[in-house]
Symmetry: C2
Subunit: 644 residues, 2 copies
Amino acid sequence: MRRLHALYRPLELLFPGGRAKSWSRLTSCRLASFRMGATHPDVNSFVARSKTCGELRSAHIGQEVTLCGWIQYKRQEQFVVLRDFQGLTQILIPQEEAASHLRKLFSDAPVESVVRVTGIVIPRPPGQANPRMQTGDIEVKAETAEVLNYCKKLPFEIKDSIKKTEALRMQYRYLDLRSIQMQYNLRLRSQVVMRMREYLCNHYDFVDVETPTLFKKTPGGAKEFVVPSREVGKFYSLPQSPQQFKQLLMVGGLDRYFQVARCYRDEGSKPDRQPEFTQIDIEMSFVDQAGILALTEGMLQYSWPEEKGLIKIPFPSISYDEALSTYGTDKPDTRFGMKIIDVSHILRNIDVGFLQNSLSEPYATVKAICIPEGRKYLQFKDLESLNELSKSQFNQFISYLILKPDGNIKSSLGKFLNEEKKTELIRTVKANTEDVVLLAAGQQKKVCSALGKLRLKSAELLEAKGLLLRDPSAFHFLWVVEFPLFLSKEENPEELEAAHHPFTAPHPLDEHLLYSDPRQIRGQHYDLVLNGNEIGGGSIRIHNAKQQRFILETVLKEDTELLFHLLEALECGAPPHGGIALGLDRLICLLVGGSSIRDVIAFPKSFKGRDLMSNTPDYVDPQELEPYHVQVTWPLTEAKARTN
Amino acid sequence: MRRLHALYRPLELLFPGGRAKSWSRLTSCRLASFRMGATHPDVNSFVARSKTCGELRSAHIGQEVTLCGWIQYKRQEQFVVLRDFQGLTQILIPQEEAASHLRKLFSDAPVESVVRVTGIVIPRPPGQANPRMQTGDIEVKAETAEVLNYCKKLPFEIKDSIKKTEALRMQYRYLDLRSIQMQYNLRLRSQVVMRMREYLCNHYDFVDVETPTLFKKTPGGAKEFVVPSREVGKFYSLPQSPQQFKQLLMVGGLDRYFQVARCYRDEGSKPDRQPEFTQIDIEMSFVDQAGILALTEGMLQYSWPEEKGLIKIPFPSISYDEALSTYGTDKPDTRFGMKIIDVSHILRNIDVGFLQNSLSEPYATVKAICIPEGRKYLQFKDLESLNELSKSQFNQFISYLILKPDGNIKSSLGKFLNEEKKTELIRTVKANTEDVVLLAAGQQKKVCSALGKLRLKSAELLEAKGLLLRDPSAFHFLWVVEFPLFLSKEENPEELEAAHHPFTAPHPLDEHLLYSDPRQIRGQHYDLVLNGNEIGGGSIRIHNAKQQRFILETVLKEDTELLFHLLEALECGAPPHGGIALGLDRLICLLVGGSSIRDVIAFPKSFKGRDLMSNTPDYVDPQELEPYHVQVTWPLTEAKARTN
């Protein structure tokens, strides 16, 4: 009985209800990276242990081993559970008088102290093996032990089951990193990136080139951190991406470039953004769009962890226009249906005031989405909340039809629709009994955006009620292509801005429109979407200097001064080229099912850009600013100066 | 005859006198990275070519191929040599009337224009194969061709043999990158790093963790760039290394960390330094010094390019004291002898004024180096220049002995030495006929530093005269160990500073001296030296919070405020840990025999920290500084403000 306690208590606390990741999953991932390799990684070389806390099995019984780890749990002065990055091992403290110094040593060492134990691997007594523990068949009978470092009382216990505020986790990030989940996330990230490198470098001869991060301001890039230099009044910028460098490397004949690139963007307090982030940055010469898509698909398939299932390539693709009209967004989550369906032809001639008003607008339409089993799962207040959302975010009125079990329709529109129209509508939206159909009429773009948002919100509501629409273990990749090359500026719709960036090449079929109707040009841009999240994007670039200059100067009215080196490079034998960048933090976050990219970054910053562990950013001595010829503009000083 | 011209002229220009690297070396390097792998990299997937310009051989004769590349050379309207990253291929332009459009196309396209050519691989006419060209057995008879981009007149020709100023190379770096040497350097760098990653990640289960570069000021780190944040008066710093993060990762239980880390150091205008540089950053838990040395040796051996020869491990090691007394420096070049030899016991009692004066100083000594064949290769003015150097840099007088062929010694000391002393001296310094012996007397440290410098300078002089002392293709690694933990501050010798950084653990045998005589403590620090250049360093770190606090507060009198998070982390179960960082730029530079680290960095900055290509750093609009609450301190404004 005493042994049962010793065996199960600590593990229950570690893996409550099977929700937390277990060490066996972590290990299977570790091994997955060796699918292709011949050797098993050697984790015990060069160090003071002979085995990790995760690897002892019955086969090791009788061996003398040395383990190093943290005291996870102590019980009855007889058992100590030792933890390292690979797992847990139970240490048995001999009860003989001769071992009293060991009992004292462990008794004096608080939980999370670091110890080194040497002992003999022995089987657990019959019936007391722990099948939930990888090392559950054995324990190590301690012969000698040493406390390598004592631990003070911690602000929280190192158990995934213990709830902690995010602020506390961030303040003690070095403790938070000991959690099974964080260990898993960081190791998985490392392995996925390593596989990508193998694919690019070893299989396709890409060259890993490091590009500078102390660079020049990008035109129009208002979100760049500045770094004062020792030249008075002159600054570096921390670039948002290596865009210019990757293109210049192609001009330099590198042919195939990649980099796991640190990028910087100062977006103030946007949630789930980081001031520094990482992208898998790729560029190739003599390539077209199909080439980049195929390369990217191959890389993701190759690097995808085995435990997450195989991913099928090629990925489906959808045009920007179709994405907007079918999903109301350019990053559709295709794990579930509820597509937006055009019902204009059915409802166009119905004599309802609001419908007719809406349909009199330019580009007007009537669209619908069908919420499966909406009547069963959603309450009236849920439907009202959808309507509220649509009104507040899109100024779009929503009407709904409820298909009752008796075959009747409940809807304010009901009385205006004859049986034929009703049947046609239900058939068109493929509604079944108990479904709810949401209808919106008005300007096409607004209607689609609103219904796209309601589609996601409805899915959330249904899932909150227990209906699983979006499989969290499914990975639906989607290419979105044929974006417009230019968009109207929000502040001045007469003027144009680049939909992505000014280096994107026009679609070959639309090139002739550049000088006549630039608004109609599609660009050779592509976005990669995973489960409704944009995880990457890229384009075929302009390699013709004249075309690039025309777009910058005439179409976009940009100052080309900041880009003279790139424009000149295009005149010096620039090959056709294109590339892509994948957001690594977001990709890994989706892969591990994290709730924020902070879960896959070792030392993330808060949404205000602060490092809570070290209290960064911080004040600096004015003297330290002197070499950089800058001074702080204190609000108070400013006020004072003004009154003087 | 016409063909001979066509075959040889362009290649002569490309590879003059066999000095430049040839494409075959580049290719052998590319292949070397596949020593361990099963697959050959596929360089032609996803792109518009079917072959590179480097891969066609007789075996391909009869095949239709498509090549993409730059026009390297045109001759007689009949031959075009096409270049890409892998090599050169000769294109034969058919002379038939039907191919006149091809002749025109190539005739109109300037050198360095980018073209795509499809044609049939044919053998070169008998006797006209070019054995110096990898593809010299064949040529491609063009069927169709397309100019993908025209090239304007370039500021310099893309040939390694063309001399260009470094400023011009930097301004047009994208053209400079097309040179064989730069292509080779960047590709080699990429492959070496990939091999290091394989070693660390796949073979030893290291976790690649990215750490922040927007961080907090390091105590005492006066060389850190600051980055203003949106919080008034608060700044990030760009860290000089991930030192704190790697230690915190160990506290977080990551066990084995590495990162190819971007680091920043603002050193103004130091030659051959870059404001941003890269280090291979490694940290392990439960490791001792021997473990880190063995790991590093294994990694270097594993990643060393085959073409550079095998490197033998373990590397020799030398203590700091021995390095100073034998080589006069803590980074000895051990490719050649000329060690510093103590001759005090021979000369101590010689009655020469300057000797006796010098020997009356504390820690005084007489040391010598022997310049082999110095009499043969060095002129009087060379010896004088050595003396000058010693006087100006070290205020150290040098005396010399010349061993004449007739067995006599020429020296101002000659008459004070009896035959016995002469013989003993010559035997001790192992001098032969024609050698020159340099002697210095005085305070040990100064004497050794001066002779260490003269040792290097003499080697240069001898090599300038044609005597090869230091094999440029040899790689002599050396560990320097047992550094002092603390040094006297230059400005105030009463105070101590950390010899490397304050986190280095004391040598276990010296730990007891911490509270009594800290000047005598050796640290567990190690430097890695290659051919006289420091290419890395590391240490076993302090994991005991009390010891760390004592060293920071009591020994070094540092403000621990900036390090509170690290000190607290050490109290929370920090494992014993240690690591190393290798300077990647310097290592690759030595590997490729570059003259500066700028030769192995794609887009380096000038020694003043400027990017000459893009004109960086540059002025920014004052408006853009507003969100960061800083303003430029213009010297003029300042002056004006003072007079008001």
